[in-house]
């Protein structure tokens, strides 16, 4: 679904690029067919170790980061669906228009955040949670070495070290009975939401009346 948006924006602004990074320990076998089916022409990476999520402190998918021509971040850490799914139960169709506005207007876009806002929006991790990344990486190494017992051991450790990461939880659940969106996931989501939290980092669209 990003492909048509990419083509449309790129036709007018050739210096626009999408880099997508599949957070998939299962690699090409899991993510490849989806990329092929979408006839993707933007840069599509398969990030088996969830490195991008670790690097940018992202805890869920899909997440988005806007990066300008000099490598400066203009927005970060939002649930970024291109369209709505399941009759609006998931996602928003508000995101694509603001991407388009940023590509057209750069830092003059009302949707481009200043440096303070970007820094405030970076998800904070505890030192313990920083250890979750090498633990998850170790589990993925064992997963791809067909050592399921140790994969489970270190993926469980990663979830204990960083309970805020939905990615670590759901990647693991994907290989268990019930799957990544099964009862275990639903229970966790309900716990968070009934405590006043939100499953996706909230998408807060600025009012563009004064454009």
């Amino acid at each position: 679904m990003w492909q048509s948006i990419y083509e449309e924006i790129q036709a007018e602004y050739p210096d626009f690029e999408i880099i997508s990074a599949a957070q998939d320990t299962g690699g090409e076998a899991d993510a490849g067919p989806i990329i092929d089916a979408a006839n993707v022409t933007y840069t599509a990476l398969i990030d088996v170790n969830h490195h991008i999520s670790a690097l940018y402190n992202l805890v869920n998918v899909p997440s988005g980061v806007w990066i300008d021509e000099e490598g400066r971040i203009a927005r970060i850490n939002e649930g970024t669906y291109a369209t709505t799914h399941f009759n609006g139960a998931i996602g928003t169709d508000e995101y694509t228009p603001i991407v388009r506005d940023w590509v057209a207007n750069g830092w003059d876009s009302v949707h481009a955040w200043d440096q303070d806002r970007v820094e405030e929006s970076i998800f904070e991790r505890t030192p313990e949670a920083e250890r979750a990344q090498p633990a998850f990486r170790l589990g993925s190494y064992y997963f791809n070495s067909d050592n399921d017992a140790k994969a489970e051991q270190y993926w469980t450790l990663a979830q204990e070290l960083d309970p805020t990461s939905w990615n670590y939880l759901r990647q693991d659940l994907n290989y268990e009975e019930g799957g990544s969106a099964g009862p275990a996931w639903q229970q966790r989501r309900q716990e968070i939401e009934s405590a006043g939290g939100s499953y996706y980092a909230p998408l807060e669209i600025e009012n563009s009346d004064n454009d």
Partner: protein, 170 residues
């Protein structure tokens, strides 16, 4: 055959070959170090229950740090390391120098997790790579292979506006 048992076998042969040549006891199995996308196999390490000691050339294979007279260096950064006598970062055994990779990680506040049983050491990101991210809002660079195996770096896209998206099949 699992990759782990294969490494055990190789490490065993290696230890036999060296037994007569040196008084230095070496670890009995190959060590594997994970850092970013790298899977680095190390043939010889110093036996140590809780720290990872490697030859200076292996340090560079692991994380690009180079041991120079002034210390362990990555680009402009140098962590001072004494090399004319033993320290918690560097020791000499039988004429061979050994560098403490986990000691460097601790000094850099780089998180790591090890499976001591199999000799697999996994290192997290170095905070120094993300200083301008947390204070400055600059996008940290990364290197990942594309589906054809070509390395893609974010810095290859300077001059373009990039929408970086994560997703997953699960």
């Amino acid at each position: 055959m699992s990759p782990i048992s294969g490494k055990h076998a190789l490490g065993f042969c290696l230890a036999l070959g060296l037994a007569g040549a040196s008084a230095t006891a070496l670890a009995q199995q190959n060590t594997v170090v994970l850092y970013k996308e790298r899977v680095v196999e190390i043939e010889q390490t110093l036996p140590d229950a809780s720290e990872l000691w490697v030859k200076p050339e292996d340090l560079t294979r692991i994380n690009d740090f180079e041991l120079k007279p002034q210390g362990a260096c990555l680009e402009d950064l140098c962590i001072p390391v004494l090399q004319d006598r033993d320290s918690d970062m560097y020791v000499t055994r039988g004429g061979q120098g050994w560098f403490n990779v986990t000691g460097l990680a601790d000094r850099l506040q780089q998180a790591w997790v090890a499976d001591y049983e199999d000799g697999v050491w996994s290192f997290g990101m170095m905070p120094l790579e993300r200083q301008s991210f947390f204070r400055g809002g600059m996008a940290p660079d990364f290197e990942l292979p594309d589906r054809d195996g070509n390395i893609v770096r974010l810095s290859d896209y300077r001059g373009k506006k990039v929408l970086l998206l994560t997703w997953a099949s699960w």
